[in-house]
Amino acid sequence: MVDLQWLIGGEAGYGIMTTGLMMSKIFTRLGLHVFDYVEYPSLIRGGHNAYYVRGSDEAITSQKKTVDILVSLNAETVKLHMDELAENAAVIFDPSVIKLSVEQFPVSVRLFPIPLLELTKKVEADRLMINTVSVGSSLALCYKEFTVLEKMMQDTFGKKGEDVVAININTSKAGFDYVVENFGPTHVADIQAMPQKHMLMSGAEAIAFGAIRAGLSFAAIYPMTPINTVMTMLVSHALKYNIVVKEPEDEIAGINMALGASFAGARSMVATSGGGFALMTESIGLAAQTETPIVVILGMRPGPATGMPTWTEQGDLRFALHSPQGDFPKVVLAPGDMYEAFEDTMKALNLAEKYQLPVIVLVDKHINESHATVEIDAFKSLSASFKIERGKIVSDQEALSETEYKRYALVEDGISPRSLPGQQGGIALSGSDEHDEKGLYNEESAMRIKMMDKRFKKLDVAILNNEFTGPKLIGDPDSQLTIVSYGSTKFAILDAMRQLKKENISVNFLQVTYLEPFPSVVFNEMIGKAKKTLIIENTKVGQFEGLIREKTGYVFAHNLRKYDGRPFYPEEIVECVKQLF
């Protein structure tokens, strides 16, 4: 069995990210299950970056605590990560850059001094390519053949020309060969390659792909960690799929552009993080009042304020649920892995248009920026089975035959058919004031009540239509303990469950997959069957725990919280669970 975690550390801005992703892809191509996780500060160069890649021939869904192969490009990396090394870990370094001896380490390690710089010189590569050398060396430590890397270099750099491919192959091969020649192959593991059924995907990619598949036409996104990749992905495919993606002057402009486009009939979305979301809140109310469909991807990171912009937390839950002023219906979906991020984004775009209301997809840095292997076939079939549903939009024909079109007609299900600008006979005004059926401002008591009820009715209808699935119970229903959580904590929880199972501790996981409307009845039913319960969340004050108590009355005896900007590790959960028995 192979389950190893590789880590490369070094200064920000010197290719750590690219190198890490390369390693992830190698493992993916070898048929392993992969999860990667990056820590980096909010600066462009010089701070410390750490890229963890875990590969296993059994299912894994999270980074883990111990490191089996450490690539340390500078002395600081050794210092910072020494304590994470597993017994017998391998340390790759360039002896011309740092001096290391086994005595320095708290555990026994195997040192692999490799003249990275010298090797780049030898193959006439830039000195910045030492990373690539180290990838070759790393591969040699756990796999016997170089071909997988060669192929990858061809696929990755093919577009950039022969020369680029060649230099990448040469440098990494130099690293690979050096290890084989000087230390022998597969020192750390001997991976048995399996046929590749997976691809490697980040949450941000899953969201972007979901949006593209679901017919997104318009996005206006102001850059902000951790949604920058969503933006970049949409931009790169914008011309292919004819999606208009614009960078607005600020987030307020962004969401209002998207609302304008949506009002005009284009499926629209924005993406942001807490600070930008704060600026958008007023306009979420506008979407609600005018019943203009909009999807907001909200990527959480630790606050308050700028906080720790490149780290992770779940501290925006209540903010997402309760912004801005007034009572109005909205939907908040909370995917916990790449599959769900893909599906929920598609679903969100449908729901927003079908029910003419704002839909928030609540994610965080951990899911957005981590990569995990996902089954290609599963994604293909999710994509194939998805159907775009745009809800009640009046056809040009219908509009023409309207004698007195009412944009906010008080229809039974609350969903008044939308006309679109340009439609003769469909002329209407959508306004932020309370209004009557025609859209004219109106402050009468009876009309106000009707319009409020109408708007909320849509959510009831959505529930009746079974639009929302979940909570999900994962694992043995008869387990001794039920873990309750939502969002990206799923990664570590599932992993912890697997570990616990090996130790014959059976734990199941009640994953809340959407937060608004809250599935109170189903939740209560399911939690009622639980023996012991533990709630896990990435906040200090327990926002999710409070939400559950508010919505269901359920009180947890045990909780596990974390608010240092780091995601949960399976080991932490395992330890916590064991203490409960």
């Binding site: 209002n256 609302l259 304008g260 486009a261 007023e282």
Partner: protein, 297 residues
């Protein structure tokens, strides 16, 4: 069938501006312009913010979107990108556009979005009952400041020029003929056009009244102003509003008409995704995303 004024009237409500409000003049002129241009009412979208002036779309039978205070501009930009077949006109007060929404129109101008911004410039916050606005003149007494206003007013014409607007004009709500003409030209102009209309607020601005303007407005075209010369336009715009208190015996001169116009590619033209078919007319069904997965291997 040609559009008539009648086509633009709604029958279930009428403007609730104060009798004598300058907004009436702009309202009439806008409808005139739409008729004169022969626009189909359903292909026109009026987008407004919040303020007395921003209620205008309620009373014109075209499509309308009455958004948030200060935020109509980006809504309008989104509409243009989604359906470039529509005529989009933004309507906002001096507070809406110059205070709360100050950032947006400047960016729309530099992008040269093909739409028209109409500022109803009554130099006061009407709907919130009379606080000073960014265009209030120095020295005005006002409930929102313990001493007469000291802030130099925003010079909308100069800001428009500086930000790259390609059609820059000032109108006056007391001259429907000129106002209609300016709005017509602005709508016809390909690119970002702004018409800043001096609009007396009879309730809260007792200084800049119809009578006051009557004595001070003059028409640029009558003075042979060359609207293709940006520097001259900037110079003309420096005349008024003043960034200092009025001198004893001094009388302001308020230029109206087209300060400047220019041709420049629009934002929409720079967006190849909509070069051929408006976004809303494009099918999004059955997109094949499988090829994208190749990058993830």
């Amino acid at each position: 069938m040609a559009t008539t004024l009648q086509d633009l009237n709604i029958d279930y409500d009428k403007p609730n501006w104060c009798p004598g409000c300058g907004d009436f003049g702009i309202w009439v002129s806008l409808k005139n312009a739409i008729v004169q241009l022969g626009l189909k009412p359903w292909e026109v979208v009026l987008v407004s913010g919040i303020g007395c002036s921003s209620k205008l779309p309620y009373w014109v039978k075209t499509f309308g979107f009455n958004g948030l205070h200060g935020r109509p501009m980006p809504v309008a930009e989104g509409i243009r990108l989604a359906n470039s077949g529509l005529t989009v006109i933004v309507i906002g007060g001096d507070g809406d556009q110059m205070a709360e929404g100050g950032n947006h129109w400047l960016h729309a101008a530099r992008r040269n979005v093909n739409l028209t911004l109409m500022v109803h410039d009554n130099q006061v916050y009407g709907l919130t009952t009379g606080q000073f606005s960014p265009t209030t003149n120095i020295g005005e007494k006002n409930k929102a400041t313990p001493v007469p206003v000291v802030e130099a007013p925003v010079n909308i014409m100069q800001l428009a020029l500086a930000s790259g607007a390609t059609f820059v004009a000032r109108g006056y709500a007391g001259d429907n003929k000129q106002e209609t003409e300016l709005i017509t030209q602005a709508i016809q102009h390909k690119g970002f056009s702004i018409v800043d209309t001096m609009q007396p607020c009879v309730t809260f601005n007792h200084h800049n009244t119809f009578a006051w303007f009557y004595e001070r407005v003059y028409k640029l075209e009558e003075q042979g102003h060359d609207p293709l010369n940006k520097l001259l336009a900037f110079e003309k715009a420096e005349e008024w509003p003043l960034r200092r208190p009025l001198n004893e015996g001094e009388k302001e001169k308020v230029a109206t008409g087209v300060f400047y116009k220019e041709d420049r590619p629009t934002w929409e033209e720079g967006t190849p995704q909509i070069a051929e078919i408006p976004l809303v007319k494009q099918s999004t069904e059955n997109r094949d995303i499988i090829p994208l997965f190749d990058e993830l291997l």
